[in-house]
C-alpha cells in the first residue's frame, strides 16, 4: 500500500487536472455556474424553514442558518459519495484505453466535491457575517451568530474528507460490478440524512430520553462519524441556539464534542485505509469489467 501511495503522488498532476475538469464541466454552460449548486440547498433550507417556523410553530430564531450549516457537510458526503459511486462507470471507456492509477478516478470526484464544499462554506460564512451586520444596522440588535471557532473548521472537514474517500473506494468498485449498488446507495443516503443531525439538534435525543438509556443512545448515535462531524461543524460555526419546540438551549462545542470528533476521525481514517487497500487490490481488474 505504501508503494501504491508513492505511485499516487507521482500522479498528483493528473489528479489536479481531473479535479479541474470536473469543476469546469460542472460550472460551465450555465449563467449562474457555481450559483446553481448553491441554489439546491438554499431551496431545501427555505422549505424546511417555512415548515418548521410557520406550520409546526417550533420557531427558533435563525433556524434556517443552523439547518443550512449542517447541510453543507451533509451535501459533501451525499453528493461526493454519489459522484464517486458513478465515477468508475463513467470512466469505463477511458480505463479500457489508458493505464493511470485507477484510484484517481473516484478521488478526483471526492476532491472536486471537497473544493465545492469549501467554497460553499466560505459563501455561507460571508453571508452570515454580512447578514448579521446588516441586521444590526437596520434594527440595532446585535445578534452575531458566527463563532471565532470557525477557524477550527478544517478539523471536521478533514474528517469528512477521510470519510467520503473511504466510502467512495468501496462504493465505486461495487457500482461498477453491480449497478444496483447505485440505487441502494441513493436510498441509504436518504436514511442516513435523518440519522445525522442535519434537520434537528442532537440534544433532542437526550431531552426525549432522560437518564441512562438516553446517554447510551446518544453515545451510539455519536459513534456515527457523520453525526460527530456535522455536530462539530455546526457548533464550531454558530452560537448555541434555542431548540425548536423546547425551552432548551444547545451546548457550545465542548470536551464531549471534541471527544466524538476524535473518534470520528479515527473511524474515518481506518475506513479510508481499508477502502484504499480494498480498491488497490482490485484496481487492475477494473478495466476488464466492460
Amino acid at each position: 500500500m505504501v508503494s501504491e501511495f508513492k505511485d499516487l503522488l507521482k500522479y498528483r498532476e493528473l489528479l489536479t487536472i481531473l479535479v479541474v475538469r470536473d469543476l469546469k464541466v460542472r460550472y460551465k454552460n450555465s449563467v449562474l455556474g457555481f450559483g446553481w449548486s448553491l441554489l439546491n440547498p438554499l431551496v431545501q433550507v427555505l422549505v424546511i424553514t417555512v415548515v418548521f417556523k410557520f406550520l409546526m410553530r417550533g420557531g427558533t430564531a435563525n433556524y434556517s442558518a443552523y439547518v443550512f450549516c449542517a447541510m453543507l457537510p451533509w451535501l459533501f458526503f451525499s453528493v461526493g459519495t454519489m459522484d464517486a459511486a458513478n465515477s468508475l462507470v463513467m470512466y469505463r471507456e477511458v480505463m479500457r484505453k489508458t493505464s493511470f492509477p485507477r484510484e484517481l478516478i473516484p478521488l478526483a470526484y471526492v476532491v472536486a466535491n471537497l473544493i465545492h464544499f469549501t467554497l460553499s462554506t466560505l459563501v455561507f460564512l460571508v453571508y452570515m457575517a454580512v447578514g448579521s451586520i446588516v441586521w444590526w444596522r437596520v434594527t440595532g440588535i446585535w445578534d452575531f451568530a458566527l463563532q471565532p471557532t470557525v477557524l477550527l473548521l478544517p478539523i471536521p472537514m478533514f474528517g469528512m474528507l477521510l470519510l467520503v474517500a473511504g466510502v467512495s473506494f468501496f462504493v465505486s468498485v461495487w457500482t461498477l460490478y453491480y449497478t444496483d449498488v447505485l440505487y441502494l446507495t441513493d436510498s441509504l443516503l436518504k436514511v442516513l440524512m435523518w440519522l445525522a443531525p442535519v434537520m434537528y439538534f442532537p440534544e433532542v435525543l437526550r431531552e426525549r430520553m432522560p437518564g441512562l438509556r438516553g446517554e447510551l443512545v446518544y453515545f451510539l448515535y455519536m459513534l456515527d462519524p457523520l453525526a460527530s462531524f456535522i455536530t462539530a461543524f455546526r457548533k464550531l460555526t454558530l452560537a448555541p441556539a434555542k431548540m425548536p419546540g423546547s425551552e432548551l438551549i444547545t451546548q457550545p462545542m465542548g470536551g464531549e464534542e471534541w471527544f466524538y470528533l476524535g473518534i470520528g476521525i479515527l473511524t474515518s481514517g481506518t475506513l479510508a485505509m481499508a477502502g484504499y487497500c480494498f480498491f488497490c487490490k482490485r484496481k487492475w481488474k477494473l478495466a476488464e469489467r466492460a
Binding site: 498532476e13 493528473l14 489536479t16 487536472i17 481531473l18 475538469r21 469546469k24 464541466v25 460551465k28 454552460n29 471507456e93 477511458v94 480505463m95 479500457r96 484505453k97 489508458t98 493505464s99 493511470f100 460490478y177 453491480y178 449497478t179 444496483d180 449498488v181 487492475w284 481488474k285 478495466a287 476488464e288
Partner: protein, 253 residues
C-alpha cells in the same frame, strides 16, 4: 511496472496467458442471488502462452483474425490490465494509444483537452505547455483550439487525438488501428511522423488490418492465432502467408 532492469524500449513476454472471466449476466445483484453459489463464470482464454521479445527501435505489427488476442496483447503491454500468468517486462515508458483522445470531454476546449489527454498519457503539465504549439500546429486546428470540443467534426477530434499521441515522448508506442487518420494529406503527415519516431529509436507495437500500412511501417510482423504466436518474421513473407490463408488458399496440406 518492474521494467527498470530492461533497456528502454524493450518488451519481453514469457509464457503470457490472459483469461477473462465473464460471469454471465453480471451487472445485477439479482443475477448474483439467483445464480447463488453454483455460478460458474464464463471464461475467455485470450492469450495462451505468448513468448515475444521486441528490441528497442523495432516496429512490430500484430496480425491475426478477430479474437486472436492482438488487442489483449497490446493492452497488456500498455498496462491496462495484468496478465493472468506469465511474465511481462516493459522497459521505459509506454504510451497506450488504443484510442485517440482518451478522456476527451466535449464541453472543454481544445487546449483543455490537450492538457487532459497529454497528462493521461504520462506527460507533465509543463511538458504539455511546452509542446502545445507543436500539437496544435500538427493537428492544423489553430483557429478552433479555444472553443469546446463538441463543435469539432469527428475528423478534427481524431486529428487532435493523434497529434497529442505522437507528441508524448514515450519509449514504446502501443497503437491499435489508429496509424493513419483524417484525409489523404493528413494521413501522409501521420506516416511521416511515425517514420520520424522510428528513426529516433522508439519502439512501436501496433495492430492494423490495412496490409499496405503494415508493409509500410513494420520492420517485423507477428501473426497471432488463437492466442499464440503463429508466425514471426520479416514483413513480406508473413503478410503473404497471412493473406494466402485469409483468402482460402490452403497454406499447408
Amino acid at each position: 511496472m518492474a521494467g527498470s532492469e530492461l533497456r528502454n524500449g524493450v518488451i519481453e513476454a514469457r509464457g503470457l496467458h490472459k483469461i477473462f472471466e465473464l460471469p454471465f449476466q453480471y451487472g445485477t445483484l439479482k443475477a448474483l442471488v439467483i445464480s447463488g453459489a453454483n455460478r460458474k463464470p464464463e471464461v475467455v482464454h485470450a492469450l495462451r502462452g505468448v513468448d515475444l521479445t521486441v528490441a528497442a527501435g523495432e516496429a512490430v505489427a500484430l496480425l491475426g483474425r478477430n479474437g486472436s488476442g492482438k488487442s489483449t496483447l497490446l493492452s497488456l503491454v500498455g498496462h491496462i490490465y495484468e496478465p493472468t500468468e506469465g511474465d511481462l517486462t516493459v522497459g521505459g515508458r509506454v504510451a497506450p494509444l488504443l484510442e485517440l483522445g482518451a478522456g476527451f470531454h466535449p464541453d472543454l476546449t481544445g487546449v483543455e483537452n490537450i492538457e487532459l489527454n497529454g497528462v493521461i498519457l504520462g506527460l507533465t503539465r509543463k511538458q504539455v505547455a511546452e509542446r502545445l504549439d507543436a500539437i496544435i500546429e500538427f493537428a492544423e486546428l489553430r483557429e478552433k483550439i479555444g472553443v469546446p470540443l463538441r463543435t469539432y467534426s469527428s475528423g478534427m477530434q481524431t486529428r487532435l487525438g493523434f497529434s497529442v499521441a505522437v507528441h508524448t515522448d514515450a519509449d514504446i508506442l502501443v497503437v491499435d488501428e489508429v496509424l493513419a487518420v483524417g484525409d489523404e494529406a493528413f494521413q501522409e503527415k501521420c506516416f511521416a511522423r511515425i517514420e520520424e519516431l522510428k528513426r529516433s529509436g522508439r519502439t512501436i507495437l501496433f495492430v492494423s488490418h490495412e496490409m499496405t500500412d503494415v508493409l509500410r511501417v513494420a520492420t517485423r510482423v507477428v501473426w497471432l492465432k488463437d492466442g499464440r504466436v503463429h508466425m514471426d518474421g520479416a514483413p513480406e513473407p508473413v503478410v503473404q502467408r497471412y493473406l494466402e490463408e485469409a483468402h482460402g488458399q490452403p497454406a499447408a496440406p
